[in-house]
Symmetry: C2
Subunit: 468 residues, 2 copies
């Protein structure tokens, strides 16, 4: 340990909580995103906001990059220590500080596992809706930094809709507290909202107060099977047009169905071209009424089969099967790229067909599933990054997918974040002036660029050939 | 018209759309906030984003302040042209651009009246929930700049929860577009959220895409009468504790009841110490079930009378009566100050009692009503600003109220904004570091400080004597 700043950091947390051995550094050199890797100089596990302040002050003095990391489940290379420096873990800051049943809030440290929050509040009849597929292992700190979505977004929104207040250590080591246990607060700029989804580039979140809502009384689960993607997409449009807001409205295409069924064996129809997994929750009568109306709409729009889960076990298995889509597809090949191009929901069918055309054009394998109700698709490529020729075609295909999403009024990322991976494409969505504003904002918060550098902002934007 | 920059502006919009006569300037020298007034140099009514860009570029070149103004209904001196300059009106940018029934969005220019949006979407069975009391005359641009709340906030949230995308002219005259018709978008920082509630200090909103939801199928309205404030507050707590989320949960104290009844004559019990106006919406059976449960809770917690409106006319009258609270109280005296201190909802009773104690201590008259479900109270002082001695006591009283709100974990403003009026108190809520970050952010967006200057940030913070 030759570097003086490492000694300073060790003094803050104690030798036990700083790792500098090569073997440890390698473990934190990548996250769930293929093809992005870089060694940090140290991995540190502070126990308190105060220790984080001290760490940041040392890093600020020496201009050392800081990468806050939850469980590293993100899919946009948001937590790779691209420029080395210090990876901060929150494994020792994983406490639920307070569950306030009067104000319907829960206050947590960033290291708490998302599912732990869900289970804790459910015991009190309360509900924390954001449920990214990784919720069993992802941390709430990671979810907040990425503004994670999930399967319940259509009706309940995403992480940002549930963050009421934050404690944040700024790039100068000072602490701010934003918001509070408040349903409404317009005192100054909405820093809470700005920090949610800022991918660790503006500050380090050290505590969060989350909004809870009453738990829905009951839930109904419907599986609708189609012999064409268009008919599934038409059903999605008709549900919205009929003023229904299901809790979940998931689309799964044939290759994904097959992979999931092979993996989970819950009885999905592997010869169907598409299925919709639809859930409605609320008071029993209402949920039943809605799911029946939705079933009728599915039939009207050409579903070849529909079935409402008869038991909670059956419903749970369907839901969990959907959650395993990434793991199931990942078994098929050495490398899996899961993207999250998002379009206005009226463009779902157009986008799915475009993805399939793009896959054909570049001769790559892409399965697609996702949150149809949100227009948020997950085109997933099973490939092998050691095959250089194919890898290049995969990159070309995703570039085409991003371009198509933008052309349809969509975005390059609906819930995964920009990270390092999509940073060359950010300008496609926000424009030159938008990117300029974001860079100025970053500069205002973090003048020495030590907070998760090289994320969100690329050295250069990929050239875009707009074909209209 | 001696100033060269006025000639330049005239060239942009034409003589017809720029006012520089003293009589016109006086009309725009103040907004709905008492005791704040300053003459602008010109009042200008552009017809397009392009004209606004040209106006901003001229103002940027000459360092002329720009004050965007909707209908001037704000209560925090958010639109007084404190440093002169140009007031921009949106009377010619008042078109509904598109109602998209497939994606459930409406795209509007900033000058559209809020109520017009509500009525337009209701014709299609859709719902735009944010409903500030001023909605009959306020503009959507003003609502977005102030992140306006309303009576339906508890269940449906506030303006920021419905803004999906913005077109904004920056301080350099360039245009950015944020978000879109997208349920989810995490491409870069959430500029949409940051701009909502930024009070015109970061840019000029020239277009907005708003989220719509299906219109609730039915509505039930309950009036509960109390002989003590505590019992009303206990009812509020018990409703939340029983996992109910009413659409509206309004508190009105005795002085407000009396003023409203004198004004509206809808049959409010003028001898009651407090009433709660509670509404639930949704499918008929559910709304009925909920309102009956809530009625039972009101009785259990000591309501001396409860009544469910039997007709929509009766319900409408009660709702409209509540909306007239400010107008009704304003008739009582030459000057009315309506504040919006907000606390965690568990602190409602403590806060109302504290307000009454503070009024007594300073010998001033304060009536209180507000959105109890949100912890958002409107202590309203009827006074006369020509009475210098009393005016000083009024200011002292509100200072005490802000301090108490902060002490209870609340905020100085729940839905009105900071403006010029509350700028000396912003640091009380956000802290020295928080204020510093906000100033840096303002500097990043608006380096020459031409965008609504002297709003949000005061020259100095009021000294706060924290008594614990």
């Amino acid at each position: 340990m030759s570097k003086a700043w490492l000694d300073e950091l060790t003094e803050v947390v104690g030798e036990q909580y700083i790792q500098t051995k090569k073997s440890s550094l390698i473990a934190y050199s990548f996250d769930a995103t293929p093809n992005f890797q870089a060694l940090p100089d140290a991995v540190i596990s502070p126990k308190s906001t105060l220790e984080i302040q001290q760490i940041v002050k040392i890093c600020a003095k020496h201009h050392i990059p800081i990468v806050p990391r939850g469980s590293g489940t993100n899919l946009a290379a948001g937590t790779t220590p691209t420029q080395g420096g210090v990876v901060i873990l929150f494994t020792r800051m994983n406490k639920i500080i307070e569950l306030d049943e009067e104000n319907l809030t829960i206050t947590v440290q960033p290291g708490v596992i998302t599912e732990t929050i869900c289970h804790t509040v459910e015991e009190k009849g309360l509900f924390y809706p954001p449920d990214p597929s990784s919720m069993k292992i992802s941390t709430i700190g990671g979810n907040i930094n990425e503004n994670s979505g999930g399967l319940r977004g259509l009706k309940y929104g995403v992480t940002k809709d549930y963050v009421l207040g934050l404690e944040v250590v700024l790039a100068n080591g000072e602490v701010i507290r934003t918001g509070g246990k408040l349903a409404k607060d317009v005192a100054g700029y909405d820093l809470t909202c700005l920090l949610v989804g800022s991918e660790g580039t503006l500050g380090i979140i050290t505590e969060a107060t989350l909004k809870l809502i009453p738990e829905p009384e009951s839930k109904q689960t419907l599986l609708a099977t189609y012999d064409s993607i268009e008919k599934a997409a038409e059903t999605v449009s008709s549900i919205i047009a009929n003023k229904m807001t299901p809790a979940t409205l998931e689309f799964i295409d044939q290759p994904t169905i097959k992979a999931v069924e092979d993996f989970s064996q819950v009885g999905l129809p592997t010869n169907a071209q598409a299925v919709l997994l639809i859930e409605q929750d609320g008071p029993a009568q209402l949920a039943e009424r809605d799911i029946q109306t939705i079933e009728q709409l599915a039939v009207t729009h050409g579903a070849i089969n529909t079935s409402i889960a008869e038991t909670e076990t059956e419903a749970h298995n369907l839901r969990e099967a959907r959650r395993t889509a990434l793991s199931a597809l990942a078994r098929l090949s050495p490398t899996t790229i899961l993207e999250d191009a998002t379009v206005p929901r009226s463009e779902i069918a157009t986008m799915v067909n475009a993805i399939n055309d793009i896959a054909k054009k570049h001769n790559v394998t892409i399965a697609t599933f996702g949150h149809a109700g949100d227009g948020n698709l997950h085109p997933t490529c099973t490939t092998d990054l050691r095959n250089e020729d194919e890898w290049e075609r995969v990159e070309q295909a995703f570039e085409d997918i991003f371009e198509k999403a933008i052309e349809l009024g969509g975005t390059i990322t609906g819930e995964h974040g920009v990270g390092e991976m999509k940073s060359p494409y950010l300008e496609w969505k926000v424009g030159e002036q938008g990117l300029q504003v974001m860079k100025q904002l970053k500069q205002a918060f973090d003048p020495h660029n030590i907070m998760n550098p090289v994320k969100m902002f690329a050295k250069s934007t990929r050239k875009r050939v707009v074909v209209k």
